[in-house]
Symmetry: C2
Subunit: 229 residues, 2 copies
């Protein structure tokens, strides 16, 4: 495989990861929409989408493995491929989170609709924008964008904590609404985990980009002072 | 690096991963003990342990990366190294789960002790044994042991579901106990996620062991029928 071909394969890998990320993002959007309008047919869509996401995860792992096996990638490409493998696992779990929300919506169907003191769509949109930004930092190999994702995580944590206490209060004061409050609380926690996955992705991008620098400096040092093995 | 040295390095990598897994397992045990006896000093131990686990995670990633960079591992070793990288991430998250339990225990301190209809220590011991078995399947490269982990996951899911409905019932019928019930429910969910991490590890072992076979057959086929690239 020529160097050019190898780099084209890396681009294909990146492209595939972005397709999968788009599917995971759409799954979260759909699941939250299913919650908002209590529509089980949207839940079905989310569940079917999961199969496609899982298939893509395995394909990406295999592509990454093949690239490592066929080539002897340079350190910087190696770090990129490893970042892909790790990001791949996180995106798959974002897809899983969408299914967990869809499970909650199904359970909620047994109970009357009740207004809850938590803005799930707003939390979801913040968590989604973190995932998008984390992927942007990956595409642009930009550790600064990745760092901005880490600081966004605090907002989601705060929203989740506020939701927790508000919903606990509903349980205490209006116990007949406990099932609805508990489900809303669970969905808020799932969205907090989506934000955590975005944070993991951002950390992997930082490890990849900064580590590539570190590795570069190490190699320069080695030229003057051979490493003892 | 000689082939022998390379294999010794793979053993070191495995050894380090097992040390980290032992620490994560201990963290879960401690966090559950902190819950059982409501002892915040144990929570402090758990929190301090997390730093060591996170440090080991980065060291293992770096070792794996160095092995990939210095050598051109054969397909089977490559799959092993990738399995290590993925298992590493899951073990680190088991450590995180211990911290999440410890956070719950701290919050519980504000409320009187109340008996809850969920056997957290039993659930924890099942989740821990899944993690141990998943690691055993990894050490012994045994896909059958890994498969047995997958079937154990159903038991944990069932225990978690039973806990969910029993605790929801506490919230509805004894709303003054809602905080204690909610915290117990959260801890049950965290333990279910620990079991999920064990499942992820087992799946990675299956991918590694079975995939190695598949790859081997592919290479044999290629000798008679060259692959079109």
């Amino acid at each position: 495989m020529t160097r050019l071909r190898f780099h084209r394969s890396l681009d294909d890998l990146k492209e595939k990861l972005l397709v999968m990320a788009g599917m995971a993002e759409q799954a979260i959007q759909r699941a939250v929409e299913a919650y908002r309008v209590r529509d089980l047919s949207i839940c079905d869509l989310v569940d079917r989408g999961e199969l496609a996401i899982n298939r893509l995860e395995r394909e990406i792992d295999q592509m990454a493995l093949d690239l490592l096996a066929m080539e002897q990638p340079m350190a910087i490409d190696l770090r990129f491929i490893l970042a892909v493998i790790k990001i791949n696992a996180d995106i798959e779990r974002v897809g899983d989170s969408a299914n967990s929300i869809s499970d909650r919506v199904r359970e909620l169907q047994a109970f009357p609709v009740a207004e809850m003191p938590v803005d799930i769509p707003r939390m979801a949109s913040l968590a989604e924008s973190m995932v998008r930004k984390a992927l942007q930092s990956f595409i642009e190999a930009d550790a600064n964008i990745a760092e901005s994702v880490l600081s966004m995580d605090d907002s989601v944590d705060r929203m989740n904590e506020a939701a927790y206490f508000a919903l606990l209060n509903v349980m205490k004061t209006e116990p007949h609404l406990a099932p609805q409050a508990l489900n809303a609380l669970m969905i808020a926690r799932i969205l907090e985990r989506v934000a955590d996955h975005a944070t993991n992705i951002a950390e992997d991008v930082i490890f990849w980009v900064r580590g590539a620098d570190v590795r570069h400096h190490m190699l320069e040092t080695e030229q003057t002072e051979p490493k003892q093995v």
